[in-house]
């Protein structure tokens, strides 16, 4: 099989698994990244602690691309502010825009996300917007210069799986940017399914962070994502809506 490179923001990745770093002990990050085979990891920007707690960057293996998010932002302006601070932290130009007005379901605000994408793209960021899977918004994000589109599968942190499957498929079919499915993916089988559908990559955090064995679940996701990708590239076998079709010859039976 020829090498399958994932291009994002002008950078080459072999892995299609973006790992989150939230909700688990930093001591486990290295093992999770290694088991996930992840080459990109998300981070949040927050008020610094002065209690001597170690820098999370010390726990992330060398060579892993950092993807700061703008979580906590309630509008485009706040997202832009957080993105600029993240760049000042000195870890590259990638940013995942995350803008939420709704504190119950944590659904992204698509309109504000488009605005933030426009501004940050002009400032030279590689912008990965987290969004509710809506085709019109996705087209606006393309026009705004996004490097990829990150539709949610289900509410963040829910582990509920592919609740928005039909709409993610529409984005995959219609949008000429990588579609990275983010949020809600709870099981490796769901990550595999969305890769079979043609998603470019999967981002997961809670599914790993709330698993019994974090590095082992990271490894399970890695395999699922690779399997889904390989299946997609192979071209799935066709579905026969009615009836059946024998796989074995219909001749030469041991009977008259």
């Amino acid at each position: 099989m020829k090498q399958d490179i994932f291009m994002l923001g002008g950078q080459e990745f072999q892995s299609r698994f973006i790992l989150g770093s939230g909700k688990y002990n930093v001591e486990l990050i290295k093992a999770a990244v290694e088991q996930a085979g992840a080459q990109m990891i998300t981070l949040a920007v927050r008020r610094a602690n002065s209690d001597g707690e170690g820098n999370i960057l010390d726990y992330i293996p060398q060579g892993v691309t950092l993807l700061p998010n703008t979580s906590g932002a309630r509008n485009a302006q706040e997202a832009v502010r957080i993105a600029r601070l993240s760049r000042e932290l000195g870890c590259g130009n990638f940013v995942k825009i995350e803008i939420m007005r709704d504190s119950k379901y944590l659904l992204p605000d698509n309109a504000e996300t488009v605005k933030a994408t426009e501004i940050l793209t002009k400032e030279g960021f590689v912008v990965l917007p987290y969004m509710y899977p809506d085709l019109n918004t996705a087209r606006d994000l393309v026009d705004a210069g996004a490097a990829a589109v990150m539709p949610l599968a289900a509410p963040i942190g829910s582990n509920k799986g592919l609740a928005t499957k039909e709409f993610i498929q529409i984005l995959i079919d219609e949008i000429d940017l990588p579609i990275i499915v983010d949020a809600g993916i709870g099981r490796p089988s769901q990550a595999c399914e969305v890769m079979e559908m043609g998603a470019a990559a999967v981002m997961a955090n809670t599914a790993i962070a709330t698993a019994g064995d974090i590095p082992q679940m990271a490894s399970a996701f890695k395999k699922a994502i690779e399997a889904g990708r390989q299946a997609y590239l192979s071209g799935l076998g066709r579905v026969r809506e009615k009836g059946a079709e024998a796989s074995s010859p219909l001749t030469g039976f041991l009977r008259d």
Binding site: S21, G22, V45, R47, A48, N55, N69, E88, L89, N205
Partner: protein, 64 residues
């Protein structure tokens, strides 16, 4: 002055570098915002804070 939302004393000639030192922040792992504007790292030693300033000191944390 306010640092990360908390009212703090601002001595005379108090630079950003001195503030980070007093508050126990490692200079390398943080970004500093002064009245909503980012302070470049190479200006930490020369930027003097004032009583009415609002300062934010941020760093990376685990997140999804």
């Amino acid at each position: 002055m306010k640092i990360n939302g908390v009212q703090k004393e601002c001595p005379a000639n108090f630079t950003v570098a001195a503030m980070l030192n007093r508050e126990g922040f490692a200079r390398e792992g943080v970004a500093v915002e002064l009245n909503m504007e980012i302070v470049a790292k190479d200006a930490y030693d020369t930027t003097v804070l004032k009583e009415e300033d609002v300062v934010e000191v941020v760093s990376f944390m685990g997140g999804g």
